[in-house]
């Protein structure tokens, strides 16, 4: 048992559900007790999704506990099959169902006799993997399932005429995934590369058999998609690029890797064109290179920062801060413990210290000890920063609704470098401003004379009412005080008691 207040990565079934609901026309049925469908709330609220989340629960209740699910799961699958006519129904185990040890595979087989949809049981162990690992595995599972179904023979695969790629790992509830996807699409279009499939976001499972038609696969985020890419390399001989095109240097390296793979397949050189493109974008289209050279950014030199997040974003951010902006990263860390070796290797030489932990208090303590000038982390680090008065830029999940902006905010590609530069610069200047204000004693040292609406000489708050007033949250207290006094004056009441306060509230019409 572990005493825990907060976690960075969610439970396994969340990952599976993210894969399922990213595909088009796939329905997930969770084998779960009442209340475990909280995923639907997150998707509907954070993503502001217009459609009903295609996730339902086959409820595990007291009866199921006593007698087993019996017909219930099969009935729920058949019913969804008839109602929604999905291409695939994904039966999703939860922590509860995995200890019940019911034979879910058997339910799947029985349901298959009557359904038109395909039915799969997500192969995920709740107590061993987290959200990301489960999503990674489920994506591989679905891809493999549909490719095996299509039973494509070696040699039968028809590659697209023009160079093309699959993007693996664009998800619902991913950190800026929609924007990143658009940015990658734009970049590839500039390079004359087509997109064969984007998987899983918006993709039909029935189209998955077209995967091998692409020349290569792109995995923008390490956490989800790598397993599928490795599977495709092994079975369909498809090369993949797992570099994240985040920051100028990495984006260039990402383009060069794609270039090499395409050259290998065409036997023609396209390097010159690509190099020209990289140079043009880096120096003139993206503003980030020029921005970090401009004198404004001199002030950032050697400033201390701490970076924490998922492996992909934390590693990329560390490299950008150090290599492209001259900032001193004292500590870089990730909560992706399963990917710790890769992370260490990536940030080696870029930071003074590496922190691998899932415990947010450890990160908080490190921040307090180091006292960096800025933090780049998750929502949790933002709150730590608030408490310690250190500015924080959010660069990775877990995230809140404010991290699903409506406007175009990619982190990847050349537009992404602009966004990141803004984020970094704004974090630091705000910090500087605060600091200067403190040195020079605040905005305005003169006593502020506020126009107070209450004329306190003729109104008396008795002690009970004063205590009641203190119970009211600070941000509305003044308003309530004013309203009560207004009411008291209108009724010619001299002494304000708790009763008067309540009466004022009752009488108040907006």
């Amino acid at each position: 048992m572990k005493l825990a207040y907060w976690m960075y990565a969610g439970p396994a079934h969340i990952g599976t559900l993210r894969v399922a609901s990213s595909f088009k026309n796939v329905h997930a049925i969770m084998h779960a007790p009442l209340g475990d469908d909280y995923f639907n709330v997150m998707r509907s609220m954070l993503e502001r999704e217009r459609d009903f989340t295609p996730v339902t629960a086959s409820i595990v209740d007291r009866h199921v506990l006593a007698r087993g699910s019996q017909e219930k799961v099969v009935e729920n699958i058949t019913r969804k099959d008839q109602q929604e006519k999905p291409d695939l129904i994904l039966l999703t185990p939860t922590c509860t169902s995995s200890i019940l040890q019911e034979d879910l595979q058997n339910f799947v087989e029985r349901a298959l006799r009557t359904t038109n949809s395909h039915v799969l049981l997500a192969d995920v162990n709740h107590y061993r993997v987290n959200e990301f690992q489960a999503a990674d595995r489920t994506l591989e599972q679905i891809v493999a399932f549909y490719l095996q179904k299509a039973s494509i023979q070696e040699g039968q695969i028809q590659k697209t005429e023009q160079p093309s790629v699959n993007i693996l790992g664009i998800f619902t509830l991913g950190f800026h995934h929609q924007h990143d996807c658009r940015e990658i699409y734009r970049l590839l279009k500039d390079l004359g590369i087509q997109i064969n499939l984007i998987i899983p976001e918006g993709c039909l499972v029935t189209n998955l058999r077209k995967i091998p038609e692409a020349w290569l696969n792109i995995v923008p985020y390490r956490e989800i998609g790598l397993m599928a890419a490795q599977y495709l390399e092994k079975h369909y001989n498809m090369p993949y690029v797992a570099t994240t095109p985040m920051g100028l240097v990495e984006t260039a390296s990402w383009i060069r890797q794609i270039c090499t793979i395409i050259e290998n397949q065409t036997q023609k050189s396209c390097q010159q064109n690509y190099e020209k493109y990289i140079d043009q974008q880096t120096r003139f289209v993206s503003q980030a290179a020029w921005f970090s050279r401009s004198i404004d950014c001199q002030n950032l030199t050697g400033k201390k920062a701490l970076v924490f997040g998922d492996a992909t974003h934390a590693a990329a951010m560390t490299k950008i801060l150090v290599r492209e902006m001259g900032i001193n990263v004292c500590c870089a860390g990730t909560y992706c413990q399963n990917d710790a070796d890769w992370f260490r290797e990536q940030v080696q030489g870029f930071c003074d210290e590496v922190l691998i932990t899932e415990d947010h208090t450890q990160v908080g303590n490190r921040i307090a000890e180091i006292e960096p000038a800025a933090i780049f982390g998750t929502q949790m680090e933002r709150h730590v920063g608030k408490r310690l008065d250190i500015p924080c830029g959010v660069i990775s999940a877990p995230i809140h609704i404010q991290n699903f902006p409506l406007s175009y905010r990619p982190f990847l590609g050349y537009e992404g470098t602009n966004q990141i530069a803004d984020l970094v610069y704004n974090s630091f200047t705000l910090g500087m401003e605060d600091h200067l204000l403190e040195i020079f004693g605040g905005h305005d040292v003169k006593t502020v004379i506020t126009k107070n609406l209450s004329t306190e000489e003729n109104l008396l708050w008795n002690s009970g009412a004063q205590m009641e007033l203190q119970k009211i949250p600070g941000f509305v207290r003044n308003r309530i005080k004013r309203n009560t006094e207004k009411y008291a004056r209108s009724k010619q009441i001299k002494e304000i008691t708790v009763e008067v306060m309540y009466a004022a509230k009752e009488a108040l019409s907006s």
Partner: protein, 434 residues
């Protein structure tokens, strides 16, 4: 119409609601010297952390005892593990009581929480309550019911007295509790205590001479425990939600205490008078409750009295005995307002409900967050139901707040209605699901 009675139905129970462990979020705030330990998995933790949003950053007095594979397979000794965690909590936070919240997992692996609690209690010299607020048995607000039922056992025994004693049960914000207490005081009835009080150490005394009355419709286990185990006398009344409910609640208590209510007519009329601007907004509008927090019957009754038409009252669980007076008042209100009796659907099926919403096109759907945005995108106005659990809705004083919540989406959407884009999905999509 007068011969018509309420119709009850029961569906499949495939509906969306919060897990009952969410009661931790308001109870730890109410009982200021408590500590809540939820013994469950990452799934429970993830729910709490996301559902409670910012609160987690304010050093809350609750935590997860996260079960790991070793706990599930009994490689670790759960007694030692819980003892270790409770000692740590005692050291770090020094609470007056630790409440263990049992979850689905502790049920399935049959962890004997009730058996272990007294032993660990002795070791750490501090009361440990056990409440099984799990999703296998309960929905959302019923979580509070399980905690209060456990707490009822810990209330001190009352000393027989000639004065009648009245204990109210149900967790309300301190301000609202005081408002209701004063409301009864004005009738000359003294409230001897609340279950729960703001501090665990101040729990009221209970016993055979004590009258108890509930303030929330989801407290049926607590009511049963108070009657059967603590020999209290239950006053069955409608719940003090809306001016009509508050009045009926006070009247019922007065009746039991042989007090003739004073000024109640005027008091109620005054409140309705103050609501008039909102009443014109809701007049003749139709409502559909999808059902997820058990407040539905009382809210529907109030809204019908406000002049609305209720098509359907979905509700997770319907205790016809505990809610008897409330159901009677609902029937009476329907007759008085001359509207058809709504259908009451226990354990609703969200998918069927959405079909019915599609057919009925109600003016307002009161529903959980999972359905709100998709319905709005299809041009159906919605109100997020969970807000009713967190807002102050009890007593005369707060009647306005209920209507503020109910009318907010109506007011917002009437502002936007002339823009011409109230349906925000393509035809194909809106046809398919709605």
């Amino acid at each position: 119409m007068s011969t018509e009675t309420l119709k009850f139905e029961c569906e499949t129970g495939n509906y969306h609601t919060f897990c009952p462990i969410s009661c931790v979020s308001w109870l730890y705030q109410k009982i200021s010297d408590s500590f809540f330990l939820v013994i469950g998995t990452k799934t429970c933790g993830y729910f709490l952390q996301n559902a409670l949003g910012v609160m987690i950053f304010a050093e809350p007095r609750y935590a997860m005892a996260e079960l790991e594979e070793g706990d599930i397979s009994a490689q670790l000794h759960d007694f030692d593990e819980l003892k270790r965690l409770c000692l740590q909590i005692q050291q770090d936070r020094n609470p007056s009581v630790i409440v263990w919240i049992g979850t689905c997992t502790t049920e399935i692996i049959k962890m004997d929480l009730e058996g272990m609690a007294p032993k660990i209690e002795e070791l750490i010299n501090r009361p440990i309550l056990v409440a099984r607020a799990n999703g296998l048995d309960y929905a959302f607000t019923q979580g509070e019911d399980t905690v209060l039922a456990a707490m009822a056992h810990r209330c001190p025994e009352s000393i027989p007295s000639t004065r009648p004693q009245l204990v109210l049960f149900g967790s309300l914000p301190n301000t609202v509790a005081q408002q209701l207490t004063r409301e009864l005081q004005n009738q000359g009835i003294q409230v001897t205590g609340w279950l729960p009080e703001a501090r665990y150490e101040e729990l009221p005394s209970l016993g055979s001479g004590v009258f108890v009355c509930g303030v929330n419709p989801f407290l049926s286990r607590t009511a049963t425990t108070l009657m059967r185990r603590r020999k209290c006398q239950l006053i069955g009344a409608p719940f003090p939600i809306g001016p009509d409910g508050t009045r009926a609640w006070i009247e019922k208590i007065c009746q039991v205490f042989n007090v003739t209510p004073k000024n109640l007519d005027q008091r109620e009329a005054q409140i309705w008078e103050n609501l008039s601007d909102y009443l014109t907004l809701v007049q003749s509008k139709s409502v559909f409750f999808m059902g997820d927090n058990l407040l539905e019957i009382s809210l529907a009754r109030f809204l019908i009295r406000c002049g609305m038409i209720v098509y359907e009252i979905g509700i997770p669980y319907m205790d016809k005995r505990f809610q008897a007076s409330e159901l009677q008042l609902l029937e009476k209100t329907c007759r008085q307002m001359q509207v058809p009796m709504p259908r009451i659907v226990e354990k609703p099926d969200n998918s069927n409900q959405i079909q019915r919403i599609r057919a009925l096109q109600p003016d307002l759907v009161i529903t959980g967050l999972a359905h709100s945005n998709p319905l709005e995108a299809r041009g159906i106005t919605t109100k997020w139901s969970v807000e009713f659990t967190f807002a102050q809705i009890h007593g005369f004083t707060n009647a306005r707040d209920i209507l503020e919540l109910v009318t907010r989406p109506l007011r917002r959407n009437s502002h936007l209605k002339d823009l011409g884009w109230s349906t925000l999905v393509t035809d194909g999509e809106s046809q398919k699901t709605l």
